[in-house]
């Protein structure tokens, strides 16, 4: 594959990583929690999207919205049952992390029970159409994924900048006690943040499912996306986007030029390197733990 083609693939992959990583970063910034259920929100999104497109024959846009809603609600469920009660008890962060791991296991198994253990392919709504941008051939599917991701990211930015809820979320993430003192109901904001992060992951799941396949063990792929969050900078959504694209491109290129066998390990190796050298990531900075 020529370099340009690889870059396109890498960027497409990176866009999906970025979407997953943003949600993860949001929750971390907001409540300081490593939410290990996050990759499963993505997986559930992929499965729901599959059902919507294959069983009900609806358009991919509809699938994205449906998955966003489904995963958002799942995230809310996890927050209400596992995260909030522990926080109320003033329990330790580690308990929340383990509880999120527990939920991840539950979701994985539930998906296997509902959809079966076999990986399933999305119906090819693009039929392998290839367009030409300049002299570079680009699959229509990749264009769809890239553009959807970009639309979502832009929408997210606008949300944070111009809506009351978005502003409240940023304030709560910066300083939750102060946010409380300006009249913001921080408990609701935390729930909303979880919903949003799950939603993003779910929507990313549809894109990823259409790119690869939908299966109950898709969460492993999501785990690599968490590395993107680390690389870009924990807790910084901009960093998550950057990290996602960097990871996507580096992974694709190293798959070809270094070794395809070790490609899967690339994400994690880079993550560890970044953690050691620049623990706050490429763009992250030290946050005061509130």
């Amino acid at each position: 594959m020529a370099l340009q083609d690889q870059l396109v693939v890498g960027l497409t992959l990176g866009a999906t990583y970025a979407l997953i990583a943003i949600g993860f970063s949001l929750v971390f910034r907001s409540v300081g929690l490593l939410n290990f259920t996050h990759p499963e929100f993505m997986m559930m999104g992929a499965m729901v999207g599959l059902t919507v497109t294959s069983r009900y024959n609806l358009s991919p846009i509809f699938a994205i919205l449906a998955s966003g809603l489904a995963s958002g609600l799942l995230a809310l469920l996890v927050e209400r049952t596992a995260i909030a009660p522990i926080m109320k008890r003033q329990g330790q962060r580690i308990n929340q992390i383990i509880a999120s791991l527990g939920w991840a296991t539950v979701l994985t198994n539930a998906a296997m029970l509902i959809w079966g253990p076999q990986p399933m392919a999305y119906r090819h709504t693009f039929g392998g159409t290839v367009w030409k941008i300049g002299s570079v051939p680009v699959a229509a599917q990749h264009v769809f994924i890239l553009s959807s991701s970009l639309v979502l990211m832009v929408a997210l930015q606008l949300f944070f900048k111009y809506t009351r809820l978005g502003l409240a979320m940023r304030a709560t993430a910066d300083d939750s006690t102060m946010a409380l003192l300006t009249g913001i109901e921080t408990r609701h904001i935390v729930s909303a943040t979880f919903f949003l992060s799950g939603s993003l992951a779910g929507m990313a799941g549809v894109l990823i499912g259409s790119l690869f396949y939908a299966s109950f063990d898709l969460g492993q792929y999501g785990l690599r996306a968490l590395s993107a969050a680390v690389i870009g900078g924990f807790g910084d959504p901009v960093g998550a986007v950057l990290g996602g694209f960097v990871l996507g491109v580096v992974e694709t290129l190293s798959g070809t030029y270094v070794s395809s066998a070790y490609r899967d390990a690339m994400a994690f190796a880079i993550a560890i390197l970044v953690l050691l050298v620049r623990p706050y990531g490429l763009v992250g900075r030290r946050r005061r733990t509130v």
Binding site: I97, G102, V106, N109, L113, L226, Y262, A269, I272
Partner: protein, 589 residues
């Protein structure tokens, strides 16, 4: 009550007997296999109990060490045909080497560390699949364990091998946990700052704990490899790591017995859901969530309560039969009046804010030196710089003539510069006596023997000094009380007792009287005076002016990070700059 006790002891004896004789009396050979596997898993969870349960390190890649150990042992067995003790050793060594690779990650904090261990585990899984000599995805056949021509092939043989290994590890780790080493790990988990202030080398101990756990995991892996006769990379994934984590969580943290209980519980869950194999993970996941939300102390919490009720322990510690009499530690002597601590142009700047600006200060041996100034003047910043909790941007700090500005916090604590915190930093789950004990850490004579075989003598010495220190501050009646349950004033006294146990030369007190009732303030003043009488030099930050005027031999006044006055209390009170600093310009007139 006595009847109940005897019944329980009888039941325990029966249980032990059953475990020992099981392979010969059970009608179902499968039970032997099940228990052997459970014993090996227990080796993993015991190790995790040491690192995660005790030390609080969020390690999510124990499957990686287990796998490396399994492959190490398997490859040595397959290629070299050596007796099994050597293959087990090979497993331990390879796992420890893998652990060394992970060592640089140790310095990361909490969540970053957790992410790094997950990444590490994922990398190892890929390596196990891809490296040429591992047999790849299809796995590796492993020959049976051999010893002097005898081949271990029957399940019963592995049963006893695993049982012996487990028992040895259990006894060893139980002692480790109860030894000063184990206490330090617990302390690090509860309050890392306080641990550093006691002189505990946090990173070093974390690495040691990990080494123990990793070696055990490696041994377990090699043993399992022989037992099953076959290993494949998919046995050593992150889900397995999480499963082991679950054992420790469900069983109950910080107790080796809890790890065993948890292992058995989860192994049983897995077994009994054979009929509903698809639901096993679901149940397991829900269990994790439920335990974390509702029962964070795990199953062992119940056992412990029964144990406490029926077999109450009166000895201060498992390895000490009785509380030793209080004995003061050796306090250093020196010429009173000589400069003990000197700062030269110490400056601390954080991102544009200059907290301290060219501070010169001298503290003389044997005196109580006060450090005062309005809020935000930089007093705690200076104290942090002196104790090593902060690094000055410029300037020198000299202690007994030697420059110490580069030394980390725990080294300074060992060297005789000890501090308390504005808000008392204690180990809330440990008893008052244990808190005091840990203060003596730098002077304890550690050895492998004292950690693993007999912690008695080391503990006795430390306890004697702790008892003396607690008597000194008046807390001798509360030795068994959990530190978290003390009143605020008592917590402050406990912190002082803890640092006293180390016989410091320079004691840095950060607002010892803050938050105390007037009666407690007077008592605190008395304690500080008696500390001076021991020959200890004291630097004290306080806002309670009447107390300071009475107590201090000399004072330094900080304002906006700079020294604006230095001298005796009488001189300071008369100094208009000081009044102006506190009350504002007009009030000085």
């Amino acid at each position: 009550m006595a009847l109940l006790r005897r019944l329980i002891m009888l039941a325990t004896a029966l249980l032990v007997g059953a475990v020992l004789l099981l392979p010969f009396v059970t009608p179902d050979p499968y039970l032997t296999v099940f228990l052997s596997t459970t014993f090996i898993y227990a080796m993993l969870s015991l190790g995790l109990q040491l690192t995660f349960g005790a030390a609080g390190m969020i390690i999510l890649c124990q499957a990686a060490f287990y796998g490396v150990g399994a492959y190490g042992g398997a490859l040595v067995a397959a290629r070299l045909h050596v007796p099994f003790p050597l293959t087990i050793a090979a497993g331990m060594v390879s796992a420890t080497l893998a652990g060394l690779v992970m060592a640089p990650i140790m310095k990361l904090k909490e969540v970053y560390f957790a992410m790094a261990t997950i990444s590490f585990g994922a990398i190892v899984t890929v390596l196990l699949r891809q490296l040429p000599f591992t047999g790849g995805v299809n796995g590796l056949n492993v020959p049976a364990a051999e010893l002097f021509g005898f081949s271990f092939r029957a399940a019963e043989q592995y049963y006893y091998l695993a049982l012996v290994a487990l028992v040895v590890q259990y006894l060893c780790f139980r002692r480790l946990l109860a030894s000063p080493f184990g206490m330090c790990l617990n302390a690090i988990r509860q309050n890392e700052s306080a641990a550093r202030a006691c002189g505990i080398p946090v990173a070093q101990l974390q690495i040691k704990a990990t080494a123990w756990a990793v070696a055990a995991a490696g041994a377990a892996g090699a043993l399992m490899a022989h037992f099953q006769g076959f290993i494949a990379p998919d046995m050593f994934t992150t889900s397995f790591s999480l499963w082991v984590l679950g054992m420790v969580v469900v069983g109950g943290l910080q107790s080796m017995g809890g790890a065993l209980v948890g292992t058995l519980a989860l192994a049983l869950v897995r077994e009994y859901s054979r009929g509903f194999k698809e639901y096993v993970q679901l149940v397991y996941g829900l269990l994790l969530v439920l335990f974390m939300v509702l029962l964070p102390r795990g199953l062992w919490g119940f056992v412990e309560r029964i144990q406490q009720a029926l077999f109450p322990r009166h000895a201060p510690h498992r390895y000490l039969k009785e509380t030793p009499a209080g004995r003061p530690p050796a306090f250093a002597a020196g010429t009173p009046g000589e400069p003990l601590l000197q700062t030269e142009k110490v400056t601390c700047a954080f991102g544009g804010v200059v907290a301290l600006n060219a501070v010169d200060m001298t503290v003389r041996r044997g005196e109580i030196h006060g450090l005062i100034g309005p809020n935000g003047a930089g007093k705690t910043t200076l104290l942090n710089a002196l104790s090593g909790f902060n690094r000055p941007t410029r300037g020198l700090i000299a202690f007994k003539g030697r420059t110490v500005s580069r030394l980390p916090d725990y080294v300074r604590a060992s060297a005789g510069i000890n501090r308390t915190f504005q808000s008392p930093q204690l180990f809330p789950e440990l008893s008052v006596l244990e808190n005091g004990l840990l203060g003596y850490y730098p002077k304890m004579r550690h050895s492998f023997w004292s950690s693993v075989v007999d912690p008695g003598p080391v503990l006795a010495e430390a306890t004697a000094h702790a008892v003396w220190a607690l008597q000194f501050v008046g807390l001798e009646g509360l030795l068994e009380v959990q530190a978290g349950n003390l009143s605020y004033g008592q917590k402050k006294l406990l912190e002082i007792a803890r640092v006293l146990a180390n016989a410091p030369e320079l004691l840095l007190l950060d607002e010892p009287a803050a938050g105390l009732t007037p009666a407690e303030v007077t008592a605190m003043g008395g304690v500080v005076r008696r500390i001076r009488a021991l020959g200890v030099t004291v630097l004290i930050i306080e806002h309670n002016m009447p107390l300071m005027m009475e107590l201090c031999d000399s004072m330094t006044v900080l304002h906006f990070g700079e020294v604006i006055a230095d001298g005796t209390p009488a001189e300071i009170r008369a100094e208009p700059a000081v009044t102006a600093a506190y009350l504002g310009e007009e009030a000085a007139c």
